[in-house]
């Protein structure tokens, strides 16, 4: 198709500029708003409760052996597997094929699993009994309603 230079070619060079109907203060636009320094992120529970995401797992409590420390049936436990379990840590353990939450007691070669409910007796580990510590409980989340 043959064309001759016309107004349409001129139009190619006419680029409409976008119009922004907002107040602009001359001389200031190159600088970031001073308020930016004060812009902080809102509180994020994930960040607070889960400091090491790849190592953190949520679990659900089914038993009532730890009610004394606010761990009830239905509570959610934040379990961090990266932490080293110490004596008095609250831990999720595998004992006799079952996962349970207990307070760990380690002293002078004696290892016990303590409950926080007087109706449950402490479990003292006997020779040859295998205890696998699955993770350390760092937070408990319990609904109030």
């Amino acid at each position: 198709m043959k064309t001759t230079p016309s107004a349409s070619d001129q139009d190619l060079f006419h680029i409409p500029l976008p119009f922004y109907d907002i107040p602009v203060s001359a001389g200031q636009s190159r600088f970031p708003s001073p308020a930016q320094d004060y812009e902080i992120a809102e509180i994020d529970l994930n960040k607070q409760l889960i400091t090491n995401p790849p190592a953190t797992f949520l679990t659900r409590v089914t038993g009532d052996s730890m009610t004394g420390v606010g761990i009830y049936p239905g509570s959610i436990l934040v379990v961090n597997r990266a932490l080293k379990p110490r004596s008095s840590s609250i831990v999720v353990v595998l004992l006799d094929g079952e996962l349970m939450v207990k307070r760990l007691y380690k002293h002078a070669g004696v290892v016990k699993l303590l409950s926080e409910n007087p109706t449950y007796a402490p479990i003292t580990l006997t020779e040859g009994q295998e205890l696998m510590i699955w993770g350390v409980v760092t937070y408990v989340i319990t609904a109030t309603t």
Binding site: N52, P53, P54, A55, F57, L58, T59, R60, V61, T62, G63, S65, I76, L77, R81, A82, V92, L94, G97, E98, L99, M100, V101, M132, W134
Partner: protein, 430 residues
């Protein structure tokens, strides 16, 4: 005065052992030491085995479950339907943990990642054990780590770490003297080398290349003439020359990956959808060329670990209702996954689609309600799309990006709970 020597590259490959079975065991710790198998979609075939199952049921891999069920249950095997969402999430945790050990990690597959260790002033054997221990402690996954001066050597080191008990799960080929390394290579079958399959092994045997050491010492030019440029590259890599950079892949037998860095950083979902659709179509086409069908789709998007912003890598996997080679189905699944991993405010630099658990045309079942790939209409459509694209260039014909509803029904009666995805399915502790 001597000029400083250029740093010799060092790569690590971290590979999870019996990955799917190990993921199941993390949430069922009482199964430690017990045989576990994972079944494909619709509980069809055995697609993964724990090492205990491997020892007793080695021949059962890829066999239909109904055929092997009785023998498996006799030795106390626990079977699971595949829970790809869980495996995808655990894979993500695995990679996140590895990032504590190297700034440059390349996800190679769902259960393997390469790491750049060049210039690290550490005893690599000790470091490897630290990585292995940390991944096990944090995520519960058992892994092996191999180190080498090329990716091919790192992969080979990982093979040794896994198969030869003496290494205790960590094998550092960079610490071996040349005679020690050669002695080890002479003991390895050629098919243990990355990218060399059984067929190529037979052809190499026929010309007297019977072990990895002989392959290493083969003349690269003659190898190229007779076997092609890929194997030449492998020979050079076996000699410690770097021919594959961190982001360059070798094709894996049982998966097809399409991924690359975006031309520029993308932050809008629309742009990412376009990119992921492209990769889905590309991967599907490459898979069809091999005459294969996918059982699962895996999607990842990430920003650069060198960015000032925090590193984010979203990755998820989903099982398909029945094996498919359809671009539409794969694109739908990929976009659905993209929606799940997309986080606004991240400037993504790279993304891709991986098709996994590939099966041959013959080995599939017909779905009752789903789409069947035997369906000749779809078959013809895919053939036509590939032809048009071959003639007029990729992307001439492509799918309109559609949303996808997860209304796929599958028989997965042995599936473990959604421990990481559903509040009601959280791991229970008494």
């Amino acid at each position: 005065m001597s000029l400083p020597q250029p740093l010799k590259s060092v790569y690590a490959l971290a590979d999870a052992n019996s990955f799917y079975a190990s993921c199941e065991k993390v949430f069922r710790p009482e199964l430690e030491g017990k045989p576990v198998v994972v079944l494909s979609n619709n509980d069809g075939c055995v697609i993964a085995q724990s090492k205990e199952a491997k020892a007793a049921l080695a021949l059962y891999m890829c066999r239909p479950w109904f055929e092997v069920k009785e023998a498996a249950e006799q030795i106390g095997t626990i079977a699971f339907s595949s829970n790809y969402e869980l495996y995808g999430a655990m894979s993500n945790r695995f990679v996140q943990t590895l990032r504590h050990f190297s700034p440059r990690v390349e996800v190679y597959s769902i259960d393997e990642s390469f790491m750049d260790m060049t210039g690290l002033k550490r005893d690599l054997n000790v470091y490897g054990h630290e990585i292995k221990h940390t991944v096990r402690q944090w995520t519960g996954l058992p892994i092996c780590v191999g180190f080498g001066h090329s990716k091919t050597l790192a992969k080979l080191a990982n093979h040794c770490a896994k198969k030869q008990p003496g290494w205790d799960g960590v094998c550092d080929l960079t610490s071996l003297s040349v005679p020690e390394l050669d002695h080890l290579l002479a003991s390895l079958e050629i098919s243990t080398v990355w990218g060399v399959g059984k067929r190529l092994e037979r052809r190499l045997h026929a010309v007297g290349v019977t072990n990895v050491l002989r392959l290493k010492h083969a003349d690269p030019k003659r190898i190229r003439d007779k076997f092609g440029v890929l194997l030449e590259r492998t020979v050079r890599e076996l000699n410690g020359e770097v021919w594959l950079e961190l982001d360059q892949m070798m094709p894996e037998a049982n998966q097809v990956m399409s991924s690359r860095s975006f031309g520029h950083r993308l932050d809008s979902l629309t742009d990412l959808q376009a990119a992921i659709s492209f990769h889905a179509g590309n991967a599907a086409e490459r898979m069809r060329k091999k005459g294969l069908y996918a059982n699962a789709v895996y999607v990842f998007i990430q920003n650069s670990p060198h960015d000032e912003a925090p590193y984010y890598c979203g990755q998820q996997m989903i099982a398909l209702p029945s094996p498919t080679n359809s671009t539409q189905q794969i694109t739908k699944a990929a976009l659905w996954l993209l929606n799940k991993v997309y986080q606004p405010g991240v400037y993504y630099l790279k993304g891709g689609v991986m098709l996994m658990e590939l099966v041959a045309e013959g080995g599939q079942q017909r779905e009752l309600f789903g789409f069947s790939q035997q369906d000749s209409k779809n078959h013809r459509l895919m053939g036509t799309i590939d032809q048009v694209n071959a003639k007029y260039g990729r992307g001439t014909v492509k799918t309109a990006a559609e949303g996808v509803r997860q209304d796929w029904q599958m028989r997965r009666v042995l599936k473990s709970p959604g421990y990481l995805h559903q509040w009601k399915d959280l791991l229970k502790v008494r």
